[in-house]
Symmetry: C2
Subunit: 342 residues, 2 copies
């Protein structure tokens, strides 16, 4: 029931997912039963695998996350996570309030064995590759070892879902040199160098879309800020360009002729292809589709959730993290005080 | 002698500045005397206000900042700051190693009375306004009160150099709501609310270029990351678009016809217009022109430095900061532990 187009886009996307993914054995639609049934009637869709789980409340997009999760126990979001918790479903997909989803999933499903903090992993298309950016929103004050665990989980994600054989892992910093960064990134860098990951060092914002890394590690504050800033910059330049084009007939004609290029670009960078961001490190699969998700985005989010389940993703994570933690215990604490250089 | 096109672009820009700005009484070119003289001969430029100050060393772009400043005492950068320190010049302009410049200027010129840490202020053009982003690179682990001082200095910059009457100040966070942010931004927000600044609250990356604030406050890590990420995203989308256009003759023709729009946009967003970033909070005016500065960028950086000097900028800062510090002392410490919400 969350997101900008609920329940219609969610129901339509779920119906599409059932039509195309034969491997789904059960799909729960959690929310206002009457409204869900109305949407299904509208679509003329029935499927024996479909179950409606009624929930009387809705967590709104601007509800404060922690309070909302505590107070709205019968919300569609909390109830959907309950379905996973009781073992009737393997994954939850939601287009609702991000903070509430991360909070509820973390609280109710708990972290996987060995994982200290879950992290949100985003897939970003660049001209050269599709990279994982993590953490994109879960952990605002992480410890360096959290970032190292994110690197392990992000690598597994890149490998298993995107098919990169040996994903290149980088820390997002303020320069490529090893001694550049803040306390958090300098220590994460030091630890990552000693893991078995394919760690390629620091990158900075300039390299974000340059295809130099397949897994980019950062804290949630920076992750959130860079993704939004990049989106904002592209949007503003696009609008600026439109204004300039409108000033002159010949430019307008030109833009019309070149229109196919703009359209092709939009498709390539279409966030709906990947369905959403994934909260990694919890007992269950939790996918956050963006608030304005189309039916296609919901369908793809459901498809990706099936890939996680089929690939026994979380079992691999537990094994990877166990190996990592054993390794980290052997690494001596940093000797010198952190040097934070420009 | 620093930057990608030294000394030719620096010398050419300085010559242009002397030609157009009658108020400059002395201009020192600090660096390799022979090479500077050769450039001047090439330009056929002489001016009695021009002084060459020889320096035998150069801080390279990839030198580690702190060591470089300590070891290369006869570098053009250190010598140029010495000219300001001994009172023969009011301002330094450099296209060299950013970290070294910030370190040397901070160490040699010291902070202004009442200022705890200097901060780097950048001017960014958006469709709606030109905004100040601060700190863009000086202070990687700031205290919340540093951010509040940056807000005061950034406001004065916006007011005095850009002419905004009552600049709107915002904190860059991960959402506009007051309770969103990390420890640093939550506390800075709390303090800023109680100042006399025109504080408009939090913005997030989406609003960065939306014209909702004239002074945007952040720590150097985030400031560096968002600026570079935004630049990178725009560059990548541009390249992607070019590739799509090349695929097809009609698109190529269209792009040619619409070319004026692309050109107009490039001019609007031209970083050379503003010459560079300014290190605020030190005894002197210190402008960091970007490494690839054109003569025009150097000329504009010099012009802006004259505006700072003419407007007695630093005297205003000292008065503003004195007022702020008196105010901050009256604000009780935060009672509750920080709540870091998604």
């Amino acid at each position: 029931m969350g997101g900008d187009f609920a329940p219609q886009n969610v129901v339509a996307g779920a119906a599409d997912a059932l039509r195309t993914h034969g491997k789904i054995t059960k799909l729960y639609l959690v929310g206002n039963q009457q409204r869900i049934e109305a949407e299904l009637r509208q679509l003329g869709f029935t499927d024996p695998r479909l179950h409606i789980e009624h929930a009387s409340e809705v967590i709104e997009m601007d509800d404060p996350p922690v309070q909302a999760v505590r107070r709205k126990k019968d919300s569609s979001m909390c109830r959907a996570i309950d379905v996973v918790k009781r073992g009737d479903a393997d994954a939850i997909v939601s287009a609702g309030n991000t903070g509430a989803l991360l909070t509820a999933a973390h609280l109710k499903l708990r972290t996987l064995e060995g994982v200290d903090r879950p992290g949100l992993a985003c897939l970003i298309p660049s001209p050269e590759n599709v990279f994982v950016l993590m953490d994109a929103g879960a952990n605002l004050e992480p410890h360096p070892s959290n970032l190292v665990q994110y690197a392990v989980m992000g690598s597994r994600y890149s490998q298993q879902i995107l098919g990169y054989q040996r994903p290149r892992v980088a820390v997002l910093s303020i320069g490529t040199e090893e001694m550049k960064g803040n306390e958090l990134t300098l220590e994460a860098h030091r630890l990552l160098k000693q893991t078995d990951l394919n760690f390629v060092g620091n990158i900075d914002g300039h390299d974000l879309f340059a295809g130099t890394a397949d897994v980019i590690i950062t804290d949630a504050f920076v992750g959130n800020a860079v993704l939004k800033a990049a989106e904002s910059a592209v949007r503003v330049v696009g609008r600026w360009l439109k204004d300039e084009i409108k000033k002159n007939r010949i430019r307008k004609l030109g833009a019309m002729l070149a229109g196919g290029a703009f359209k092709a670009l939009k498709e390539k960078a279409d966030p709906d292809t990947y369905g959403g961001a994934v909260l990694l490190g919890i007992n269950g699969i939790c996918i956050k589709a963006h608030g304005a998700s189309s039916p296609k985005a919901i369908k793809n989010a459901i498809r990706i959730s099936t890939e996680f389940v089929e690939g026994h993703f979380n079992e691999h994570i537990v094994a990877d993290i166990r190996k990592l933690n054993a390794k980290l215990q052997q690494i001596p604490a940093s000797q010198s005080p952190f040097e934070t250089a420009h």
